[in-house]
């Protein structure tokens, strides 16, 4: 089954590249009673890409996001992460397969230090029982956590209580926590919501840095962030893929403009 042939609608896009997709959905459909939130959405995100999912209110972005992170079970269709079929798996299983996500409401442990927050997340992925046997393994864990903090620029604040961080730093810590689980796919849910222009820019720079070895799916409303970060953009409208393409292609797409300005 050629993954490149299952994509619907839109301009010719990234699957022309040779990389096999890391994330693939096939006719993903979600119905709530009489409401169809997603209707046959098929996307393929190649390894290493930053994919932005945009669309006007009610387009199905959150629903799509919740499906690929295991929070929501689709009514029909399939989701693949690499070779694994992750359709309908609960969030903890999906996380273990290598999908990490950030939350709109900050999901950090306020009473723990910055380093501890990251260490706890890293611990869930590695070691487990072996911690009892190898006390050196704990040292590895701390080193890994410090490395992640250095990546996101929070290392100087490692001993700080998470509750005392500024809002922007807390959002950054969330991203660090997601990274600590060593994911293959990082899902970011409106990471710049509520941020000032300066904080937004800092977040954009951060995501660009960490995305070098990662595949990222990001849902965002801020168009500058989207245009600046995304390699490919998927536009959803009323639960269907309206268009897909590079930022330039999407900006030039008259139908997309119409949908955004006329809703």
């Amino acid at each position: 089954m050629d993954p490149r042939s299952t994509r619907d609608g839109g301009a010719p896009g990234p699957e022309a590249r040779s990389a096999a997709p890391l994330l693939r959905t096939e006719r993903l459909t979600v119905r709530f009673g009489g409401l169809t939130a997603l209707n046959g959405v098929s996307v393929a995100v190649p390894r290493g890409e930053i994919r932005a999912v945009i669309g006007p209110n009610g387009a199905g972005k959150s629903t799509f996001f919740n499906c690929i992170t295991g929070v929501l079970r689709p009514t029909s269709g399939r989701i693949w992460l690499g070779d694994d079929d992750i359709t309908g798996l609960p969030p903890d299983r999906v996380s273990r397969k290598g999908v990490a996500r950030s939350y709109q409401i900050t999901n950090i442990l306020p009473g723990a230090s910055v380093l501890e927050n990251v260490r706890i997340a890293a611990q869930s992925r590695h070691h487990g029982w072996s911690l009892l046997r190898h006390h050196r393994a704990f040292g590895d864990l701390i080193d890994r956590s410090r490395a992640v903090l250095a990546d996101v620029g929070l290392l100087p604040k490692e001993a700080e209580l998470a509750a005392n961080l500024s809002h922007g730093d807390q959002r950054t810590l969330e991203i660090a926590i997601a990274l600590a689980t060593d994911p293959r796919l990082l899902c970011l849910d409106e990471p710049t919501a509520g941020m000032s222009v300066a904080e937004t820019q800092a977040t954009v720079d951060l995501v660009r840095r960490i995305a070098r070895n990662l595949t990222v799916v990001i849902v965002e409303h801020d168009m500058e962030v989207v245009m600046g970060l995304a390699g490919t953009i998927t536009v959803l409208h009323y639960g269907e893929v309206l268009a897909e393409g590079s930022p330039a292609e999407i900006q030039a797409n008259a139908r997309v403009q119409e949908v955004y300005l006329k809703t």
Binding site: T106, E190, I250
Partner: protein
């Protein structure tokens, strides 16, 4: 009549409004445009007293009103029609309307006068007056929410995305209602994502992005020059 000066509002630690300033004159119909998440609803909620600004001033008809509880603002003449309508589902249509009619200084006669007026504005509400609010369709609930706000005899109505989720036929009905409210000299601050409707119905518009007002212009200018709208609201 209504004026916001450098308003900063937070939800917990999240800094949503980064210094919003705007004003609405008596009887004006002003639009507030912007993409999702820029803080339009939060601006309306700040004006209506539902959330207290951390910094900045809100003045209404010459007095400082930031920090007053919502029911005081309602009595002063600020009516709020929320995005999700928030019709009282277990109250009948008539009871929903009644919630705005027991203010100080209301007489039985005045109450009936206002009810008659709103039933003429919205005849279908008269038919359904004994029906529970929760049994109305989405569009009907939107009309009820606006009618209910009118019961406060407000000087300004804060309308939060009234056309969201409505069919085109109802959208034009909303347009008419805004027009008629304008005839009654009620000021309106209209938050919307439907750009054509907003440009038609308003005399001028503010455009918000990232928690601040980035642009202000007369609506006919925005209609003539699509680029600005496209820049802030398009893709």
């Amino acid at each position: 009549m209504l004026r916001l000066d450098d308003i900063h509002t937070y939800y917990g630690k999240s800094h949503i409004l980064h210094g919003v300033s705007l004003e609405v004159g008596p009887g004006e119909v002003v639009g507030l445009l912007g993409r999702n998440g820029v803080g339009k609803s939060t601006t309306l909620k700040t004006i209506a007293g539902l959330v207290r600004p951390a910094q900045g001033r809100v003045s209404f008809e010459g007095r400082e009103v930031a920090g007053l509880p919502p029911y005081r603002l309602a009595h002063l003449g600020i009516a709020w029609v929320p995005e999700d309508r928030r019709v009282f589902k277990l109250l009948t249509v008539a009871e929903n309307l009644r919630t705005g009619l027991d203010r100080a200084g209301m007489t039985e006669a005045r109450r009936n006068e206002l009810l008659d007026k709103v039933y003429r504005f919205f005849p279908f509400l008269a038919e359904r007056r004994r029906q529970a609010g929760g049994t109305l369709s989405g569009g009907e609930q939107q009309m009820l929410a606006i009618a209910r706000a009118m019961m406060l005899e407000p000087r300004i109505i804060l309308l939060d995305e009234p056309t969201e989720g409505l069919m085109p036929r109802m959208v034009s009905q909303i347009r008419e209602i805004i027009e008629r409210l304008h005839e009654e000299k009620v000021a309106i601050l209209l938050v919307e994502q439907n750009v054509p409707l907003t440009l038609e119905a308003t005399s001028r518009c503010y455009i918000m992005e990232k928690g601040v007002v980035q642009h202000e212009a007369p609506s006919r200018d925005l209609k003539a020059n699509h680029d600005i709208v496209r820049q802030y609201l398009g893709v």
